[in-house]
Symmetry: C2
Subunit: 370 residues, 2 copies
């Protein structure tokens, strides 16, 4: 675990006068920043004191002993597996002064924050955007050398799965969406990855109109002509890639060809615009312009950063309040797409590393005509 992550947080805490930062990862409130700072994969609370001391409260103690890197480790059962008891208990254990400022996770439900405040009125609990979690998300948006090593390895596995998948379609080895989805899952795990990074989507031409097909894959056949969308990620040591293939079987009708060509054009425009130093909004705007010119609009963002979560910051959308500068060290998924019930859906998605000089394409997905 890179120490600069916690020392950066510690410096920030000093500036802000924060005594204790609390991170929580639990069912319904997942937060990958916990794994980012202490290695433990899930179901825990992490406490970081302004002195630099850390404490992990874990649901599964043997798992935490294997993965966690905090100074101290406590079983969640010691606090009756209650976040209120754990947070208040640890704050008192650290001997915080009256009115000490304690930063709670920004995703914490309002009634839960109220319960914590009621239980320990002697402390000043903060729950806000722009606090400790924002600092950590900012840090997570620029990958370090260890993270880039993981990404190169994950991209290698991803590319090999893409190749095998396309070959499998050419060889007619998949008769249903299920076959293709399970093939991906098996290849990914056999390659030593933790698994797929999110629920794999395999949507045949009758179902590919859905942005996220529901269910994400089914027993439906793959024999129809038209576009089949396959969206998957390889999760290695916590970090996921995110790619989308559109497998095009047979010949397309003119409307489908028009959509496919537009997505390719938009993709090329995004790739050309993506560079260190440019505003994230301008990349998204270039794509919107391509689609708008032909009377189309895309129902989702152009892209997003990837990392310990499939969707991280920055998000690539043409909205002023989401604007960020594209910076070296960012790993971004670009995924223009168009969808309609009749013609089906077309999406092309790859992952890029932003470098000092430009961009480096990590994955090799796209449209594959078979």
């Amino acid at each position: 675990m890179a120490n600069y992550r916690l020392s950066t947080l510690q410096n920030w805490m000093e500036q802000e006068g924060i005594e204790l930062v609390v991170l929580e990862d639990t069912e319904g409130r997942r937060n990958a920043s916990l794994r980012y700072v202490c290695g433990h994969p899930s179901d825990a609370l992490f406490f970081f004191h302004s002195s630099g001391a850390s404490l992990l409260v874990a649901w599964d103690l043997p798992l935490a002993e294997l993965y966690g890197t905090a100074d101290a480790l406590v079983a969640y059962s010691e606090f009756q597996r209650s976040p209120v008891q754990a947070i208040v208990g640890v704050a008192r254990r650290f001997g915080l002064a009256r009115n000490a400022r304690i930063e709670l996770p920004s995703g914490m439900p309002l009634p839960l924050v109220e319960s914590i405040r009621a239980e320990a009125p002697e402390f000043s609990f903060l729950c806000r955007y722009g606090g400790a979690e924002t600092q950590l998300k900012e840090l997570r948006s620029i990958k370090d050398a260890a993270e880039l090593d993981i990404y190169r390895e994950a991209a290698g596995i991803t590319n090999s799965v893409i190749n095998d998948l396309v070959q499998g379609f050419r060889d007619k080895r998949f008769s249903t969406e299920l076959d293709a989805a399970l093939f991906i899952e098996a290849e990914v795990r056999r390659a030593g990855a933790e698994g797929t990074g999110f629920e794999t989507i395999v949507a045949n031409p009758e179902r590919s109109f859905g942005i996220h097909a529901f269910p994400s894959f089914s027993g439906a056949g793959l024999g129809l002509d038209g576009p089949t969308i396959i969206d998957f990620g390889v999760k290695l040591k916590g970090y996921t890639t995110d790619v989308t293939l559109t497998i095009i079987r047979g010949s397309l009708n003119p409307e489908q060809e028009r959509m496919a060509a537009l997505v390719e054009e938009a993709y090329a425009a995004a790739e050309a615009a993506l560079a260190p130093g440019v505003p994230s909004t301008s990349v998204a705007r270039r794509v919107d312009e391509v689609f708008e010119r032909e009377g189309f609009s895309m129902p989702h963002s152009l892209g997003h950063a990837i990392g310990l979560e499939a969707h991280e910051q920055p998000v690539l959308r043409d909205r002023k309040e989401l604007e960020t500068t594209i910076r070296p060290g960012m790993v971004l998924a670009i995924e223009p797409g168009l969808y309609a019930p009749e013609p089906g859906g077309f999406r092309k998605e790859n992952d890029y590393l932003v470098t000092e000089r430009g961009i480096e394409k990590l994955t090799q997905s796209g449209f594959f005509r078979i």
Copy 2:
């Protein structure tokens, strides 16, 4: 969609003087109550007005047209895919009076509630435990006839997967955890289910000490003697089952035999105690007593309700504040288990329907010696 769900909510709103109830299901804030009241599976906001009018704001419009049952349907893009804009916009569209009481989801993060309040100070936004969502969770805890039909079908599929899985182990058809996990996924989807209800766990004797093994399944082999834990669910029309098998290969050492026997004893005690009218805590206490007598303790709850989510209310634990009366119509998963790094883990889990007269065992999982 059963209308009593919304009419019950409407009656409650009238008593509470609530003009509008808001439900949200989005990445990071999943809420199955949305699907429960309007059929749409995910990524949407649902608004229910005291007049009985409903409105669905969906990210994927074609999907919502297929599944949603609200009176009106609006694309999320009309509100820039911002929950603040959607909630405030819909409240104004309904023409709510000044100071109208609007119930927000109880899981909404505090800073988001503050943004909504700042954007529309003319309304009175509630965000609390014990509000509309509590009513819906209460309703969801008692399954209706349509839900029980689904559960009988899902249990049938689950039992057939259990049989085939055990036979596969006997026939040495699975060489790795991955093989067994993908076998489950394939059988479940081929049977017409939406998928597995949560991430399947297959943990061989070296990994079964984890309550939730990490990763949940891997390329690790299944040839070792000892307990392998397999935990999976069949998700049919949104509803999931939840069962755990412990496959015991070879002979156990005395410590393992002792743990296995204790889990069986605890399981039998829970099954004997589970009945309509009894307090949920008393069932859990019976199991705790069995384990404590021998100096063990279980690191998780005895069980929980199942439904549109894998973990629903009530939770079966011996904690006063979680106490509920076991009632007819509840579908509960009972899952005593013991874990230690050396001996490995033993867990047995099945699903039960509580009836007027007693309980009905829906699934047939358990310990299987091979």
